[in-house]
């Protein structure tokens, strides 16, 4: 059983690290890096679901009969694109925040807002 689920548990560990960075760090950029880890861990989860022991990449050839599942690959291709799009937008926001406030530390931002 341990071996059966080993991959999934690694995913969970990665996920928790990512989530931890997102909610515990003050720096807005660090939060985004954490978010990236968080998202990637879910990608790894999907790809693990699609793996078949002894299978090969799902590109048809006359010598192979066992392939890994192509559907999770497709979904994750889409999800990666969504992820990078989100990141681009988030980073743009961070740059604007830096411009407007002069800092990217969450706690300092809160203080600045409470003052005015």
């Amino acid at each position: 059983m341990f071996y059966d689920l080993y991959n999934y548990w690694m995913v969970i560990v990665l996920m928790m690290i990512g989530l931890y960075i997102v909610i515990s760090r003050n720096n807005l950029i660090k939060k985004l890096i954490g978010l990236n880890i968080f998202q990637t861990s879910v990608f790894i989860f999907y790809i693990s679901v699609g793996k078949v022991d002894g299978g090969t990449a799902p590109i048809f050839s006359s010598t192979e009969t066992l392939y890994s599942n192509p559907l999770p690959h497709v979904l994750i291709l889409t999800a990666i694109v969504v992820g990078i799009a989100t990141m681009a937008l988030a980073l743009a926001l961070v740059v604007r925040i830096k411009r407007a406030y002069g800092t990217v530390e969450d706690a300092e931002l809160q203080e600045l807002d409470n003052r005015c």
Partner: protein, 500 residues
């Protein structure tokens, strides 16, 4: 062409968005966007009619059959929500030109309409699709567009609000994605209908519970249910007024739709092992009370109504939690009604912001004399929010109370009524200052902004007409309740019947 309506519903605004970008003249873009929105409104009307006549419409994208390809599946519930979203989207867009010209720089206005259309198309796509991964994709289209739209706000806090919303929204979406992955690993399918059929086999499994939990938490982040509502007040307060009106009236509604869809259609609502219904009712009630209490103290009226939105979402969740067909019907009614009243309220606030430059409470003193029509709109929509008879708000609250009595939950009914009293308090305070408060002296006005030196006038017609369309709809559907009642009753029965 008629059998292509389900897909046209979504791709008309979707493909109109890049076209809008090519026009690159704010006014032209606006006209074009309005044109696309009106078409999609007509389509949604036609769809509702079709569904009522001939039942569920299923449309296979790419011509592949359902579990292999992506299916668009329009039942009564989705047709009903599609109509709400496209109707509100269109009316708000009609008002957008005037307000946006003032709140957003000239060179960014085209992009604004592009994003607006994308957001609307994303929301429509979530509702129309019958494929659970497709939901995720369209959720992200609408969310990304929303983050950018919020960041258009004048105040620099809008940026921070957008950032926070982005982080929470992405966590929510990733949770949803994880839930989808778990379900897929159990069933091997992504089609909702197919999932529902294959899940009962696996329903004893811990994985299903986990998937359920993650998806529900993910969606609840999006719909700002009580402990997860933190992003909403800031977002609504600092976004441009038009965006607030649109989001308040549509985005949370679509999230509620998604919750209902997942809960009843996909999972089949048979989680007897989990106390999910009491949790919904409890969270809903806490939502109503905490948010209403916080709302009372808010100096910024936009923020006040943002908290009030959190409270109203609470009512809808209670309706789901009650778990009877009548409760669900109350939720669906409130979905429709809340969209009408919050649309009207936030548009009216947009008019106020247009004239006096902010939505601070102090600015409302004596405003009824200067902007009688706008304030009258706020009063009517406010009455509807409280739930006074002859407005739509009454109908849905009435059904909610009825549903809780029917299920023997009379304390819940009592608490709902008390919750409504709280909303009387905050609406009244606003009305009082507008009608009986002293108008600000000209000297005070000049201190706020140089542009306000001239006396405050009534809002321009281009804003007033959309506002009053919504206000009249509030009253009309409060008196002639047939359309939403019938649609919601059938949809609720259908869901409960299909679920059990």
């Amino acid at each position: 062409m008629l059998n292509h309506l389900p897909i046209l519903q979504v791709i008309v605004p979707l493909l109109a968005a890049p076209a809008c970008l090519l026009l690159n003249k704010p006014r032209l873009s606006w006209l074009f966007a309005c044109f696309a929105a009106v078409i999609s409104l007509l389509i949604s009307g036609a769809l509702l009619y079709q569904v009522q006549q001939s039942g569920v419409i299923s449309y296979m994208l790419g011509g592949w059959d359902a579990p292999w390809g992506i299916e668009y599946r329009i039942d009564l519930l989705s047709a009903y929500v599609l109509l709400i979203v496209s109707a509100i989207g269109t009316v708000v867009l009609l008002a957008a030109n005037t307000s946006i010209r003032q709140e957003i720089d000239e060179d960014k206005q085209s992009v604004f309409y592009v994003l607006y259309l994308l957001c609307m198309a994303g929301l429509l796509g979530i509702v129309a699709t019958g494929d659970i991964f497709n939901v995720f994709v369209f959720l992200e289209i609408s969310s990304l567009a929303t983050y950018a739209l919020v960041a258009f706000g004048r105040d620099r806090r809008a940026l921070l609000a957008a950032y926070q919303y982005l982080i929470l929204g992405t966590i929510g979406a990733t949770f949803l994605l994880l839930g989808i992955g778990l379900l897929y690993s159990l069933t091997g399918t992504l089609n909702m209908q197919d999932l529902a059929e294959r899940l009962p086999v696996a329903s004893e499994s811990a994985t299903v519970y986990t998937a359920f939990a993650f998806m529900i938490v993910g969606v609840c982040l999006k719909l700002a249910l009580f402990p997860l509502h933190l992003w909403l007040p800031n977002t609504y307060t600092y976004a441009p007024s038009i965006v607030t009106a649109f989001l308040a009236a549509t985005a949370t509604k679509v999230a509620i739709y998604l919750l209902i869809r997942l809960y009843f259609s996909v999972f089949g609502a048979d989680f007897s092992a989990l106390p999910i219904q009491p949790i919904f009712i409890g969270l809903g009630l806490v939502s109503v009370f905490v948010a209403s209490t916080v709302a009372i103290k808010q100096p910024n009226i936009k923020r006040l109504f943002a908290y009030s939105s959190v409270a109203q979402i609470g009512y809808m969740i209670i309706g789901i939690g009650i778990g009877s067909s009548l409760g669900l019907q109350a939720t669906l009614l409130h979905l429709f009604n809340h969209a009408l009243m919050k649309g009207a309220l936030f548009l009216a606030l947009a008019a106020v912001v247009y004239r006096i430059g902010s939505a601070e409470r102090s600015g409302f003193n004596g405003l009824a004399k200067q902007m009688p029509w706008t304030m009258a709109a706020i009063v009517v929509a406010g009455l509807s929010l409280i739930g006074v008879p002859l407005t739509v708000g009454f109908v849905s609250k009435w059904y909610l109370v009825l549903a809780s009595f029917q299920s023997g939950l009379w304390p819940v009914a009592l608490l709902i009524v008390i919750g409504s009293l709280l909303s009387i308090y905050y609406v009244w305070a606003l009305v009082e200052s507008a009608y009986f408060g002293k108008a600000a002296m000209p000297s005070n006005v000049s201190s706020s902004s140089a542009a306000n030196l001239s006396p405050i006038k009534e809002a321009p017609l281009s804003l007033l007409i959309p506002i009053w369309i919504l206000v009249l709809a509030n009253v009309y559907f409060g008196i002639d309740t047939r359309l939403p009642l019938e649609a919601s009753a059938t949809a609720a029965n259908f869901l409960m019947g299909g679920g059990s």
